[in-house]
Symmetry: D2
Amino acid sequence: MAGNSFGNLFQLTTFGESHGPAIGGIIDGCPAGISLDFSAIQKDLKRRRPGQSKIVTARNEEDQVIWLSGIFNGITTGTPIGFQILNNDQKSKDYHHIASVYRPSHADMTYEKKYGIRDYRGGGRSSARETACRVVAGAIAKQICPEISFKAFTSAVGEIELDKPYEQLDFNLIESNDVRCPDAAVAKKMISRIKEIKKNGDTVGGVVSGIISNVPAGLGEPVFQKLHAELGKAMLSINAVKGFEFGSGFAGTKMLGSTHNDQFRPDGSTTTNYSGGIQGGISNGMDIHFKVAFKPVATIMKAQETIDQEGKTISMHGKGRHDPCVVPRAVPIVEAMAALVIADFYLMQHIYQSSTQFKYEKGVN
Amino acid sequence: MAGNSFGNLFQLTTFGESHGPAIGGIIDGCPAGISLDFSAIQKDLKRRRPGQSKIVTARNEEDQVIWLSGIFNGITTGTPIGFQILNNDQKSKDYHHIASVYRPSHADMTYEKKYGIRDYRGGGRSSARETACRVVAGAIAKQICPEISFKAFTSAVGEIELDKPYEQLDFNLIESNDVRCPDAAVAKKMISRIKEIKKNGDTVGGVVSGIISNVPAGLGEPVFQKLHAELGKAMLSINAVKGFEFGSGFAGTKMLGSTHNDQFRPDGSTTTNYSGGIQGGISNGMDIHFKVAFKPVATIMKAQETIDQEGKTISMHGKGRHDPCVVPRAVPIVEAMAALVIADFYLMQHIYQSSTQFKYEKGVN
Amino acid sequence: MAGNSFGNLFQLTTFGESHGPAIGGIIDGCPAGISLDFSAIQKDLKRRRPGQSKIVTARNEEDQVIWLSGIFNGITTGTPIGFQILNNDQKSKDYHHIASVYRPSHADMTYEKKYGIRDYRGGGRSSARETACRVVAGAIAKQICPEISFKAFTSAVGEIELDKPYEQLDFNLIESNDVRCPDAAVAKKMISRIKEIKKNGDTVGGVVSGIISNVPAGLGEPVFQKLHAELGKAMLSINAVKGFEFGSGFAGTKMLGSTHNDQFRPDGSTTTNYSGGIQGGISNGMDIHFKVAFKPVATIMKAQETIDQEGKTISMHGKGRHDPCVVPRAVPIVEAMAALVIADFYLMQHIYQSSTQFKYEKGVN
Amino acid sequence: MAGNSFGNLFQLTTFGESHGPAIGGIIDGCPAGISLDFSAIQKDLKRRRPGQSKIVTARNEEDQVIWLSGIFNGITTGTPIGFQILNNDQKSKDYHHIASVYRPSHADMTYEKKYGIRDYRGGGRSSARETACRVVAGAIAKQICPEISFKAFTSAVGEIELDKPYEQLDFNLIESNDVRCPDAAVAKKMISRIKEIKKNGDTVGGVVSGIISNVPAGLGEPVFQKLHAELGKAMLSINAVKGFEFGSGFAGTKMLGSTHNDQFRPDGSTTTNYSGGIQGGISNGMDIHFKVAFKPVATIMKAQETIDQEGKTISMHGKGRHDPCVVPRAVPIVEAMAALVIADFYLMQHIYQSSTQFKYEKGVN
């Protein structure tokens, strides 16, 4: 209700500020009996980690998860999974210079307007550091439905776009370069562009594409919790996101129905997939594909004019360690949020098909 | 949880199929003491109503709300508002020809996969007829925060786009034409295009823009219930929507941070508004502006190949009464969903600012 | 959130005042494919109906459910079930004499304090007429888990108690008398006592016992949604309820652990059942048994002093048609609320056992 | 949903097992700007702490809260408050002897039936150690509504009852003795009885009474979230609770309406308070008073027969460190749960009175 929980049956609640002692969360509703692959969780965290390459922030965090409950001998027990990640390299002093300043296009002013109080340490709760907890929970969510594949990659950095259909890409290449674009040539251009922008003290936006494959038909809860509506909310809740589209997206608005309609094959699959794997808010078994728009990071290493708490105009210059382009590190976050949405519906779908399926162990005789 | 409720503090739950006796809903959490303007509610419904013009479906529904509870002498009592709208012109027989057919890009197959049962009457629950209930609730939501203005309009039909900045438009013109575009020349082109497409038995997509003005700063509940995340979910839950963007949206991904950052004026307003009125998931007092992408309606009056429940390929031809372009009728729905989101956060914001504000009537002494 | 919804996966939301045109509700989350037994629903309503015997209120309502959605050819479709019950015999004029009076131990004053408005028609929303909707939903809930038996009966009227262990009772006798006590001799005393009290214009309280049998082990969601905690909430939400106990209840506080512990038999059942079928908030397969305390109805046909809205002391005398003892009509309501709780956990339990059970139809290849 | 969250606007989510590294929780929705009194929180924890006196378990835990987020310079920021408490004295080896045994009237078997897995360390999640987190959150909840007083005390240990009306008690005496009974003579008897029972290796139940004073009128959300229904759920969710009653409770079932009705004074207060401060599910400003029944602790230091996982009968003898009577330590837990319920409704009440009260800072012009 106050906004720090996500999901219904598989629910993540998070806490933590960028510059407090730790961030963390509680996963409630994880089914019992799952033998967790901890290295897979840590691997996803590493992909999100600051300091991982030359095109991301230099803040250095190990991001090692400390597990506190809900797991016994490596297996989930069905009780809440509590976890935390320490903030080792927080350097609070970095932020004293902005304690009374509202940084442009940051959440400084809105948080203060909302709560009447200012936690100026690194943006406090509004920092994207919080997304590490999403990655932890998402990595567990993936393990609930291991047959489903979650893939995200960078499909645009500024004006440099990867314009091939995703079916023609080799997803094995995603992790082969720092920008996480599964096309070596385009990746090279993107990296070079980010380096150039970084050198100028500026930042740039980009697009992450997501593909969810091998999804069972039937996931999604119309009319308000349509699969793509929850997916959209999930993506829009990630820091710096400005837009979400799935299937034909905004381009689909220009098409005619006779072209846009996905024709069925006899097996129920479709020859095209403008629907993006979802019809009427429910998965149809085809790939779910979507795009997420990220704005340029607001912290730039250039002089800017802004105001302080008294409304006085002042000049400021970014300090601290920031990403010139958030997109490469956003890739695992997009995957994680997709997994949280799908795992939740996956569990939910268990329930509503037919009463005839309810076969429990009967009461004691 | 099963998906037919929207909102937290101001919550709408709906029921009803396209071809049952009635649709309706329950609004729980409407504050007491509001003297309802029933004509404003009916006016919004009329804007969504089928049969309102030559470019929409010919189905004829009066859509007169029947109020059942929660209102006494025209004033809300704080108890749940039950309401219903009769389906007068449902013509169930129209649909017998599709009882065993899966229409392309409809929800026929996914509903059946999900629930194991097929309600073939006009798409059943997946019909956009359900959105009439949203308009009712949205019209009440608007009356909770009357100082806030909710405006939506058609900004694209197929490739015909209205490309002026919204600040230059005269919103008084929105209702002056059948397509709800506040530019007479562009509206004319759009109408003509829709008529042409209709004549061909085809359909086309489009874009609805939304502007929410005079929003108090502080609305939104990070980190998961960010204002734009809930707004996006709300819009994506409307039938036929394929995408949502706010502020700079997808175009913003191509910008540099130094350009994209909205500079503050001394009064806290900003000179540009790429943020779309929201920073860190919280409203900042500037206009909230966003775009919603609608696909072309799937029912076309042309022959198409499809499959039946046995997977046999058959040819089908649309019957019934359908919209060649859903966008004009979607305008009030977009407004309604925006109002539902804002009213909910508006009520919520009352709570979390500072404990010092809590001054209640004390207990009996 | 605003209090008119109950349940999570199987969720009932209700609306309606005692003297409005209708009451009704929406059931969201009812599994698809259930062939509803409508006569069973109507039968439960009839047991709750006013005017059914000489020891209940003379208000005459048919309480015939009007189904509006979610059912196709008698089978649930998985979409929300909308329903309503007309208020035929509401006689609003009966209440004009109390429009400005606060009746003692009614909700008149608290509703006005809460909402700042007074709907004086028959208590408005606070009337127990609202519970008819619970009976409808409860009767459907029972059909979701038909192997489970829900039985409630009158175990006390004022000081007349049925003091046999429930295992020695013949539940077939519950409906054989007007007071719903499965012991003819005690029932006779109870009825005679109620008639005597009615004659004096007074009212009396009582106790309803509930027994849920053949419950699968494993239902309940610790630590906050323990099975008995939700059951208690459900019962306490019924009008006029003042207490709830299960298993050994308040008497158990006087026992020693060595006596109170339920010893296991080799098959996992227990020789005693002080636990009331629940250990650690989770059903263990034994009968769940509990008691619900009902206060005497506040409306009496005797002169009483009270105050009006100005705080002026006035004398009032009950009018209208009221129950001298609410307990006989509460029996089906207790059953209904028990069924709502159990059905919800029953659906929920489907999810959390082990990930190995998740075998879905795979996506299209 | 999976049961480890409590509350709506002020929401506590907890994690942690008795014998894991730590327990803890996240409080979401705490209003910003509260200058926390940490010593008050620690003081409540100390009242719940094991090892505090000779009549409770000898397990020795400091129960020092480690704050992780949501607080800046001692003031709440409106963001989630993460906290944890280390398990220092867990001694997991104490429990190896019961790894395959189902202890009578414990949750061993039901947890295993539910989750298909056994965490045998000290009862795992089902241990009352979890309630320490409730005390932390409750102590903060009290600070949200400082004008309201929450008092609980021991009113019965086995058959020894404190039978004075609570108005005649001196609450300052509650903490003056180990059993937390505000009557020195009765307390002495209770303590002596507990010591005697402990010596015998046995345990005994008891009753905790709760009084909430100076409550504003208007709290509670009918019809399902009635104030006493949520209060009852809150109490029933505490380990070992078997019953809840408020106001006249079970005794009220034997009264006549003419006696039971609480007569109004001109100022709206009532001369009696059988209603227990709640009418129609909404507080009326009078004291809310209630009783909570606790069963005898299941772990006894005597030989008992029970079964193991194969259903084989075996004899077992309690080991470890346990309470002979849980009631003295339950007193602060009852207060904490009461505070959680009241704080939630207190925040909620802010919203629903009248639209006229909504006066926000307007958007930027």
